[in-house]
Structure formats: structure tokens, C-alpha cells
Amino acid sequence: LAKTTQPISMDSYEGQEVNITCSHNNIATNDYITWYQQFPSQGPRFIIQGYKTKVTNEVASLFIPADRKSSTLSLPRVSLSDTAVYYCLVAWSSGNTPLVFGKGTRLSVIA
């Protein structure tokens, strides 16, 4: 299973765009990149998934370069409610198990 590396923590002010980069040098050809968000005392919540180039939904954008060895989760105009831990995972299917979580990135949004 591919290992991911992401910053332990990040700080941002409200209204700014936040970019969280994840490294996955050993990603397999069939792997997808998936991001989850977790608030304290809650289960992880699926944010976005992609395979290559760019994916955008109502919550975030995911940028994946051609070599797929890294990816960047972009959160536009963050608010205080975006303060959470963000996990980057790779798996051949987001529905596949096991999902392998690292320690994630703790994002703190400051007013």
C-alpha cells in the first residue's frame, strides 16, 4: 500500500485559499487519491477523489500532476469551520479497504 506524506500542521486566516500537498511517490497505476476531513469526535468525511489532472467539487479542488507522485488539496476561502484534520490516502478504490490513514494535516483557521 502506498505511503503518503503530508505536513503535520498548517495555519491560515479566514478567507484565504489553503493548499495542502501530499506526497505519494510509490503510487500504483490503478490507485486513486482520496482526501478525508475529520472534526474532533467525529468520523472522517469524504471530501474529494481524483486520478489525474484536476477535479473540482463544491467543497474543494484536487490537483494531480502528470507523474502522480504528489497531489494538492485546495480549499478556497476557508472559514473557521474548516478547522480540522485532513487526510490524504491512496487506494485502488475509495470504497476499497483497507484505507490506510497517516497522521493527517491539522489545519487551524484563524479569524
Binding site: 482520496t34 468520523g43 468525511r45 487526510y87 478504490s93 475509495s94 470504497g95 497522521k103
Partner: protein, 115 residues
């Protein structure tokens, strides 16, 4: 539709006791997985069940066991509890184990504290 529901939300046990945690998947989901999350770490995979069969098991001792019922709900059992079993236990469901475009949906977990 209701999301993944877990019960109880909180539980306090003492060392050596046994515990049963319960999970109801999203309606129509046939795959259920269990994860353990200790404070400050990401969730760690314990078990996956699909169509009542065990499909995967993480690196956990035999004190941990699980099963899935005909209605696709699931139980996680832990025997001979240790202090190190204190954690948030998460249940996740998905339509099938192999559907690329259907992510796993997590419940909010059971907080287990061992005294």
C-alpha cells in the same frame, strides 16, 4: 437517508472486561469496515465484512473479532480489554468493496475508555 450509525457513543470499561460495539450501515450498503483511532493518530483498519463474510483483517490480536448480520449491520467484539484499547472505534460502510466511485462513509464512532 440516515448515515452510518454506531452505538453506544461512549463506553467505559475496566481491564479484563469484554465489549460489543454496534454499527448500522447506510441503507443499501453491503460492506462494513471497522477502524481504531487512538488520540493523535489516523484511523487504523481492523476488519472488513462484505455479504457477511470477512474480507480483510488488520494487524490486531485475536481478542478482536467481528461479524456481519443478514441486514448488513455489524458488531465488533473485544475481549480481555487492555488500557491500550482505549480509542475511538469507527465503522465505515460502502456499497461494495470494489466500487471505484463510491467512497467509504464513516459513522461518528464509539469512544471506548478503559480504566
Amino acid at each position: 437517508d440516515a448515515g452510518v450509525t454506531q452505538s453506544p457513543t461512549h463506553l467505559i470499561k475496566t481491564r479484563g472486561q469484554h465489549v460489543t460495539l454496534r454499527c448500522s450501515p447506510i441503507s443499501g450498503h453491503k460492506s462494513v469496515s471497522w477502524y481504531q483511532q487512538v488520540l493523535g493518530q489516523g484511523p487504523q483498519f481492523i476488519f472488513q465484512y462484505y455479504e457477511k463474510e470477512e474480507r480483510g483483517r488488520g494487524n490486531f490480536p485475536d481478542r478482536f473479532s467481528a461479524r456481519q448480520f443478514p441486514n448488513y449491520s455489524s458488531e465488533l467484539n473485544v475481549n480481555a480489554l487492555l488500557l491500550g484499547d482505549s480509542a475511538l472505534y469507527l465503522c465505515a460502510s460502502s456499497l461494495t468493496p470494489t466500487d471505484v466511485n463510491q467512497p467509504q462513509h464513516f459513522g461518528d464512532g464509539t469512544r471506548l475508555s478503559i480504566l
